[in-house]
């Protein structure tokens, strides 16, 4: 079996989580290049055509007219230059950020161990950039910007990409506008043809009400369908007539012939119909669905992971740190006994001389009954012990968040080697316990349970425990 604790730093493993940190800028770089090429190609065609027209006029051409055409040409070229300049500065920003990211990841390889202070710093930066990434995805742009700036990690996060993405998402989700999304589709037409097949919806496709209605998951078709729905929704005859033409143009080419046919069915139902699937199609929830679909396609296209790394890393971290006692209901004899006392109210006092194994109750010796008062588990839980720092999973910030997750697997006990048990059942390392009692000012020859200082035991009552 593997070691139980380790300070060995496996940089390759940790860096592998961050491959998207490098992939995202590269994919934006290649998109930048595609845009540049398309821009130049468009101008080239336009210019060639204009120029050819002038030349074709031959001797019949008018020089003054030609000069005007060439003047226009100069204007276009100047516009091209401005656009190329902005693409160039974007490109520069991207390569610089890529460089910073490679440096950041490379730094991990120079750190000797997990116990090193430099690892603490590196991991801190990682947390910062994961938080910024999370904020960006949630649409909390200003907080993300501010944090990135304060921490000087702007080059390690994709603020620009998310800002552009959020604009489209917001238009769909909140403003119910298709324009930005359709524009985005046409901008990325070619690339979209490649990704749509691998698409996975953030909303479970299986449970989705529209699930069987969109087998190809084609974003643009879904957007056009929404456009159609909105036209039909008006119930205005003229609009509906135009909707028919619209459907012919945009919906009929869909590779699933049923797509257009079902859409056409909408024409027969009014927006307040209860008939499915038309009721769902008319539903405003469809906007959320479109927004989610857009996000999924967008992220896939730009190599952005579908979930924030923060989610994944925290999920794994919670599990690795969690122990059964982090959410234990019965954390101390006091509480167990108090429960016992409460549940046995009415029964004769001290009527049970032997404890029994019951399904749920702790076996409790009568000697300890009634002696401890009810003490609620504080926010720190079992670890709210003066001697330990509080476990992060027990800490208020995370306790609820980690509640449903599995706990860490251990194949061997981790207990202080000098473990002793007090008569109330609590186990401590002897040295630690003595130190605590010194701090509490316990009289010599006696010992108190730091978690329940009301009872004093004689030192002889402290018993050695053997943990195998």
């Amino acid at each position: 079996m593997a070691e139980h604790t380790s300070t060995k730093l496996n940089a390759d493993q940790q860096v592998s989580l961050d491959q998207f940190l490098l992939r995202v800028p590269v994919s934006i770089i290649s998109r930048n290049l595609k845009n540049a090429r398309r821009l130049v190609e468009r101008e080239k065609e336009w210019i060639a055509k204009k120029l050819q027209e002038e030349i074709a006029k031959g001797d019949a051409g008018d020089a003054q007219q030609s000069a005007e055409v060439v003047g226009e040409l100069v204007k276009r070229l100047k516009q091209l230059r401005t656009k190329m300049e902005s693409l160039d500065s974007e490109l520069h920003k991207l390569t610089r950020s890529l460089h910073a990211r490679v440096d950041h990841l490379n730094q991990l390889y120079t750190i000797p161990s997990l116990a090193d202070v430099k690892y603490e710093q590196w991991s801190g930066i990682r947390l910062d950039r994961m938080m910024v990434d999370y904020m960006l995805r949630q649409g909390y742009i200003e907080a993300a910007r501010q944090l990135a700036k304060e921490k000087e990690i702007e080059e390690l996060v994709d603020i620009d990409a998310f800002v552009a993405c959020l604009r489209v998402e917001k238009a769909l989700r909140e403003e119910h506008k298709l324009g930005p999304a359709l524009a985005w589709c046409s901008e990325n037409k070619q690339a979209l043809r490649k990704v749509e097949v691998r698409l996975s919806l953030p909303l479970g496709k299986r449970n989705h009400p529209m699930a069987d209605f969109e087998p190809a998951s084609n974003l643009e078709h879904e957007l056009r369908l929404q456009e159609f729905i909105e036209k039909v929704r008006t119930q205005n005859l003229e609009t509906i007539v135009s909707a028919r033409e619209f459907a012919q143009k945009y919906l009929a080419p869909h590779k699933d012939p049923n797509f257009a046919i079902r859409a056409a069915g909408l024409l027969a139902f009014s927006p307040n119909t209860n008939q499915e699937p038309y009721k769902t199609l008319y539903s405003t929830d469809r906007w959320h669905y479109l927004a989610d679909l857009f996000l999924a396609v967008h992220h896939q296209l730009h190599n952005i992971p579908e979930r924030p790394l923060l989610h994944n890393v925290l999920s794994a971290g919670f599990c690795a740190l969690k122990s059964p006692s982090c959410h234990s209901e019965k954390i101390s004899p006091r509480q167990a006994d108090a429960e016992q006392v409460l549940s046995e109210e009415g029964a004769g006092p001290d009527s049970v001389s032997d404890y029994e194994f019951t399904e749920d109750n702790q076996p409790v010796k009568p000697a300890h009954k009634h002696q401890y008062k009810l003490h609620h588990k504080g926010p720190g839980g079992a670890a709210a012990l003066a001697l330990n720092s509080i476990c992060p999973i027990c800490s208020t910030e995370l306790n609820e968040l980690a509640r449903m997750l599995p706990y860490a697997h251990h194949s061997k006990s981790i207990v202080e080697p000098d473990a002793v048990v007090l008569p109330n059942g609590r186990v401590y390392g002897e040295a630690r316990l003595r130190l605590a009692n010194e701090k509490m000012g316990t009289a010599e020859g006696y010992v108190k349970d730091p978690m329940d200082q009301e009872r004093v035991f004689r030192e002889e009552e402290m018993k050695k425990v053997f943990i195998m």
Binding site: K8, M84, N207, A386
Partner: protein, 502 residues
């Protein structure tokens, strides 16, 4: 990573449009030339146009060539990345258990930011969360959980079943998680910055508390213990209940500081007329302290004595020995570092050699002496504990542990898929994740018989011989009658075993 670095540098060098831009400049120039020619010499119209067409064509061809290195460098970088990360599993929605809890995540982030003293970022974040609450709780059935569809082919039924069983595990957690999220997250305000039930902390209150904490720490940094002492005094009962001796340690540090000739504040704990000038909270405190050491050499002990008389009375019963030792030091004041009390006062002077006394201590660690740093750490710990918070940011610890654990868990998932196995306990991770020792916060009891961790339902039981096994193992071995301990010759009855709490 070396190949990645190299390719990155290459890409940085090649991914520029400088040449393209200068080519466009050339085109503009030749078009302007042509225009001028057309205006001045209209006769040569055809020639001018043909020349322009030729020039532009050349330039466009050139631009096309100039794009190529950008293209190839970015493609080769992608290839290098593919090669470097080949076979490395990617975190996805399957390994994301906490998506259904945006409210709790936001709260954890806010608390982390407050902890770090990033009050304004926290405020911006809260404002944005309130303006745009988490729009939805992601559905429990996550997008990609069904990777059977992804592979395209339907696996043989047996394999399918096993894989499904494995997936079910992750789904189950997710479902349980999201049930809870629906109930709790939305039962509270939609803003998502509040937590569950009575345990929630008002963010504003929390921020104020952390602001207090940073104020106290700042004052300690400039040599003023008073706010810390005040706080400890105010919370004396709570601290005592935790068995903390923070208050006494702070007072002792104050005493030692006075004794060594320091301390220039006018604090409530020393009701006396200050002989020294009382410019409190001066950042150059430590420098001044070491310089003024000789002139104030005799006033130090007097001040310490007055302080002790005013303060130590209330500690007498609990810390009698400590106080006696502190007072004994007066006898040795002139050369304290060589006295039997040297060690005691060395807490303020970690390398109290050449320059006997506080001066050396203060410069031992970047201007802040070790004892002060320890006191600050102790204070932070207690402060956070009383708020029910751990001293180090839980978010930081979890993220760091996650960085170590996640690659291992992802790998296990892949292996489990390949071997078509599932793990037996659904409450527990399938593998042990070795973390650095300071990432262990609880004692862990693993039953040596069943190899299972103890839980509420299956608590550890100690037999009279002192050996401990889990309740279930005990029941299985004993069958309710006298039995022999599996680890020693002693025999006992199960009723003699007692539950122990780690």
């Amino acid at each position: 990573m070396e190949s990645v670095s190299q390719d990155c540098t290459k890409l940085e060098g090649r991914a520029v449009y400088t040449k393209v831009l200068s080519e466009i400049d050339k085109m503009i120039a030749s078009a302007e030339d042509c225009k001028q020619q057309l205006e001045t010499r209209p006769v040569q119209r055809s020639i001018a146009l043909a020349k322009l067409q030729n020039n532009l064509n050349k330039s466009f061809t050139k631009i096309n060539d100039d794009f190529k290195p950008v293209d190839s460098a970015s493609k080769s970088f992608t290839k290098t990345l593919d090669k470097h990360f080949r076979g490395k599993p990617i975190p996805d929605s399957e390994s994301d258990f906490i998506a259904p809890f945006p409210g709790y995540i936001n709260r954890a982030i806010v608390m982390h930011l407050l902890r770090e003293g990033r009050f304004s970022a926290a405020e911006t974040f809260i404002a944005e969360v309130n303006a745009r609450p988490p729009h939805k709780v992601p559905e429990p059935r996550f997008g990609r959980w069904n990777y059977l569809d992804e592979t395209g082919s339907t696996p043989p039924p047996r394999m399918k079943q096993d894989i499904l069983a494995t997936i079910e595990y992750w789904v189950e957690i997710r479902d349980r998680a999201s049930d809870l999220a629906w109930q709790r997250d939305f039962a509270n305000d939609g803003a998502g910055c509040s937590g569950g039930g009575g345990r929630s902390l008002e963010t504003a209150t929390l921020q104020r508390r952390f602001a207090d904490m940073y104020h106290i720490l700042d004052m300690m940094r400039v040599g003023n213990l008073q706010p810390a002492v005040d706080w400890a005094r105010e919370h004396a009962d709570d601290l005592h209940a935790r068995g903390s001796n923070l208050l006494f340690e702070l007072c002792r540090l104050q005493f030692i500081t006075y004794f060594m000739g320091g301390g220039d504040d006018n604090d409530g704990d020393t009701p006396m007329i200050d002989a020294l000038d009382s410019s409190s909270g001066n950042p150059s405190y430590y420098d001044r302290l070491s310089k003024q050491q000789s002139p104030s050499v005799s006033s130090g002990p007097i001040r310490a004595y007055q302080y002790a008389r005013a303060t130590f009375g209330s500690f007498a019963s609990k810390y009698k020995r400590d106080i006696q030792r502190l007072m004994g030091a007066f006898a040795y004041h002139p050369n304290i570092s060589e006295s039997p009390y040297g060690m005691l006062f060395a807490t303020a002077a970690p390398d109290g050699g050449n320059e006997s006394g506080a001066g050396a201590a203060l410069h031992a660690h970047g201007g802040v002496p070790a004892a002060w740093r320890d006191a600050a750490a102790h204070f932070t710990r207690e402060f956070c504990s009383l708020l029910g918070l751990s001293a180090q940011s839980p978010l930081y610890i979890s993220a760091t542990a996650g960085g170590i654990a996640l690659p291992m868990l992802l790998k296990v998932r892949v292996v489990m898929r390949e071997k078509r196995t599932e793990w037996t306990s659904r409450d527990e991770l399938p593998i042990e994740v070795p973390l650095p020792p300071d990432f262990h916060f609880h004692s862990i009891f693993v039953c040596p018989v069943s190899k299972e961790q103890s839980t509420d339902r299956n608590p550890p039981m100690m037999m009279p011989c002192g050996h401990v096994i889990c309740k279930e193992s005990l029941q299985r071995i004993s069958k309710g009658a006298r039995f022999k301990c599996p680890y020693c010759p002693s025999e006992s009855h199960p009723r003699d075993a007692m539950v122990v709490y780690f």
